[in-house]
């Protein structure tokens, strides 16, 4: 498969997909058990270096959507309809062997509960080295050097020490950084983070979100961030889709969705923060809970709107 030259696709956000073919285009995706459809009519795009947030509660189909993109649907579930076009390749009908050069190398993922994705009896560095040697074909020494570099770039202090530590010796935030390092070891074009910060403490969650934010700018990386929390997505993503009961109920640039939520469920999510979050104390004006929209004076949103308007 051919990698499209990335130099001519300098669109800063996913808001301008018309300029170039998007990295990922999901069209009318339907995931089915055979008897029932769990995901219906889901379509979205993620541009190169774009970032998309998927918000929804448990059972809304957001994880199944991601798993379809990764080709790892649970047994019994199939993509019954639709197309997942990743850089010109339709992912829905790939064989096992056709997946090998893609998964890990071009599309990678991190999930909730990092400790359950690591072998407890092998040091975290060796687990990264294994991936580097198998997937990227590096030699022993090169793999070690690259592993240290990757750990360092994830903001893990003393990477040489971390390399030899076992999963139980690291905190949840450090483990998630290790997993992000492993996910990025193949230098993928798309990283899917499925509730990757959900099990973490708030301050640690912010650290991991900071890492993901930095990655967007420091690497040619597109990001899909899945969360049940609209605010988590708002920290990192340019565009957002809101899912409920297997369908997309709202989609658009993050700032617009936050400012003017249309679907009752999205309004509920926004209202949740307005009423019970810390916004109540941080914002100069109380956000109205019935009227759609936000006070127009929020600086962060305004600056994002300008970015989107420029794009």
């Amino acid at each position: 498969m051919s990698r499209v030259d990335q130099s001519d696709t300098a669109a800063p956000t996913t808001a301008a997909p018309a300029a170039a073919a998007p990295l990922l285009r999901v069209t009318d995706l339907r995931v089915s058990t055979g008897a029932a459809d769990l995901v219906r009519g889901v379509s979205f795009e993620v541009g190169r270096r774009g970032s998309l947030g998927i918000v929804g509660e448990s059972g809304s189909g957001k994880s199944l959507t991601c798993r379809s993109i990764l080709g790892i649907l649970p047994p019994g579930l199939t993509v019954a309809n639709g197309e997942i076009n990743f850089d010109g390749v339709n992912l829905t009908d790939l064989s096992y062997n056709e997946w090998l050069p893609l998964r890990g190398n071009r599309v990678a993922a991190v999930f909730q509960d990092p400790s359950s994705y690591l072998n407890p009896s092998i040091s975290v560095g060796k687990q990264l080295v294994e991936v580097l040697r198998v997937k990227s074909g590096l030699g022993r020494r090169a793999a070690f050097t690259r592993a240290i570099e990757l750990f360092d770039s994830m903001g893990l202090r003393n990477p040489e020490v971390v390399f030899w530590q076992y999963p139980f010796e690291l905190s949840g935030g450090m483990l998630q950084r290790v997993l992000i390092a492993i996910a990025l070891s193949g230098d993928p074009d798309l990283l899917i983070a499925d509730e990757a910060t959900t099990a973490l403490d708030v301050t640690v969650q912010a650290e991991v979100l900071d890492v993901l934010s930095d990655l967007k700018t420091s690497r040619d990386l597109a990001l899909i961030l899945v969360s049940h929390d609209l605010a988590v997505v708002a920290q990192v993503c340019d565009t957002v889709i809101v899912m409920k009961d297997g369908e997309i109920v709202e989609a658009g640039p993050t700032a617009q969705v936050l400012r003017d939520p249309h679907h009752p469920y999205t309004r509920l999510l926004v209202e949740n923060h307005a009423k019970y979050g810390i916004e109540k104390y941080l914002d100069p004006i109380d956000i109205p809970t019935t009227a759609p929209g936000f006070p127009a004076t929020l600086p962060a949103i305004d600056s994002r709107l300008e970015v989107l308007a420029d794009a």
């Binding site: 640690v204 650290e207 936050l258 979050g277 104390y281 949103i301 600056s303």
Partner: protein, 282 residues
């Protein structure tokens, strides 16, 4: 001055035994007044659950005291403690409603259990018991048709309501909620927070202690917040004070880390700075 419901004074608690004995709380003071909702915020390992367990009398203290009204919880022997617990003055709602309800007991049996082990249980007639259970279910917004359901047939939000009903049926003076909404979806989260906030109106004088690692999830309903960090209350104030002008670096980091809909990207550097500061002091 309002009536003090819970007073924790200079509480020191160590866990483990022998050489592995580790101090967890280093002289914690806390207070919940009647009719007040107080948030106890801290990260994993900060000692918030240890503090809650100490209030329940489940831990021995090294020094300090825990008083609920006129009862000195720390001075009670095991028998006195059990009969104090059975009065139901102090009730607890756990984080995970999937695990805190006995899967084999119907909703009615779960809610009624606290009443039937009370010392005055013998004098309660069957009808009175049923009325009180149904009143408690109504209080949390569950129709009495739920009484015969098993927890397995209920949603997470409904189960958390049952857990709250089970606590409220005993008419506690203090209700401790340990991460009561962390395991819930947005819809149930709002409903549960609204329910907990409404308890003040339906049961005047009840005090609530809300334990959470997430400032953002409880800020909306608390009057006052205590910030626990490494076994010490590093900051205490009204919710508005804590959120608008946090003083301690850890509180600043907490406020700066809570995801908000309007957060800009500039905060990342400030968080880095605060983390370095906290690490250096640790």
């Amino acid at each position: 001055m309002p009536e003090s419901l819970l007073t924790v004074t200079d509480l020191r608690v160590s866990l483990g035994s022998g050489r592995k004995r580790t101090p967890v709380l280093h002289g914690v003071g806390a207070r919940v007044d009647a009719g007040e909702i107080v948030g106890l915020i801290g990260e994993t390992g900060s000692g918030k659950t240890t503090l809650a367990r100490s209030i329940l009398g489940l831990n021995r203290f090294d020094t300090g005291s825990v008083r609920l009204g006129s009862t000195d919880v720390g001075s009670l022997g095991s028998r006195a403690l059990r009969s104090f617990r059975r009065t139901g003055e102090l009730q607890y709602v756990f984080q995970d409603p999937l695990q805190s309800l006995d899967p084999d007991l119907t909703v009615f049996a779960s809610v009624a259990e606290g009443l039937s082990v009370r010392d005055d249980a013998g004098s309660t007639s069957r009808e009175a018991l049923r009325d009180r259970v149904h009143t408690a279910l109504a209080l949390v917004g569950l129709p009495s048709t739920f009484a015969d359901s098993l927890p397995g047939t209920l949603s997470g939000g409904q189960r958390q309501r049952v857990a709250i009903a089970r606590a409220m049926v005993l008419e506690p003076r203090l209700l401790i909620c340990d991460e009561p909404v962390s395991a819930l979806d947005a819809t149930n989260r709002i409903a549960t927070l609204e329910l907990l906030a409404s308890l003040r109106e339906t049961r005047p004088g009840i005090g609530l202690l809300f334990i959470s690692h997430d400032l953002g999830s409880v800020a909306g309903i608390t009057d006052r917040i205590l910030v626990l960090y490494r076994g010490v209350v590093v900051e205490e104030g009204t919710t508005s004070q804590i959120l608008r002008s946090p003083q301690h670096p850890y509180t600043q980091l907490l406020v700066g880390s809570a995801p908000t809909l309007a957060r800009g990207e500039a905060d990342g550097e400030r968080r880095q700075e605060l983390r370095r500061l906290l690490d250096a002091s640790g």
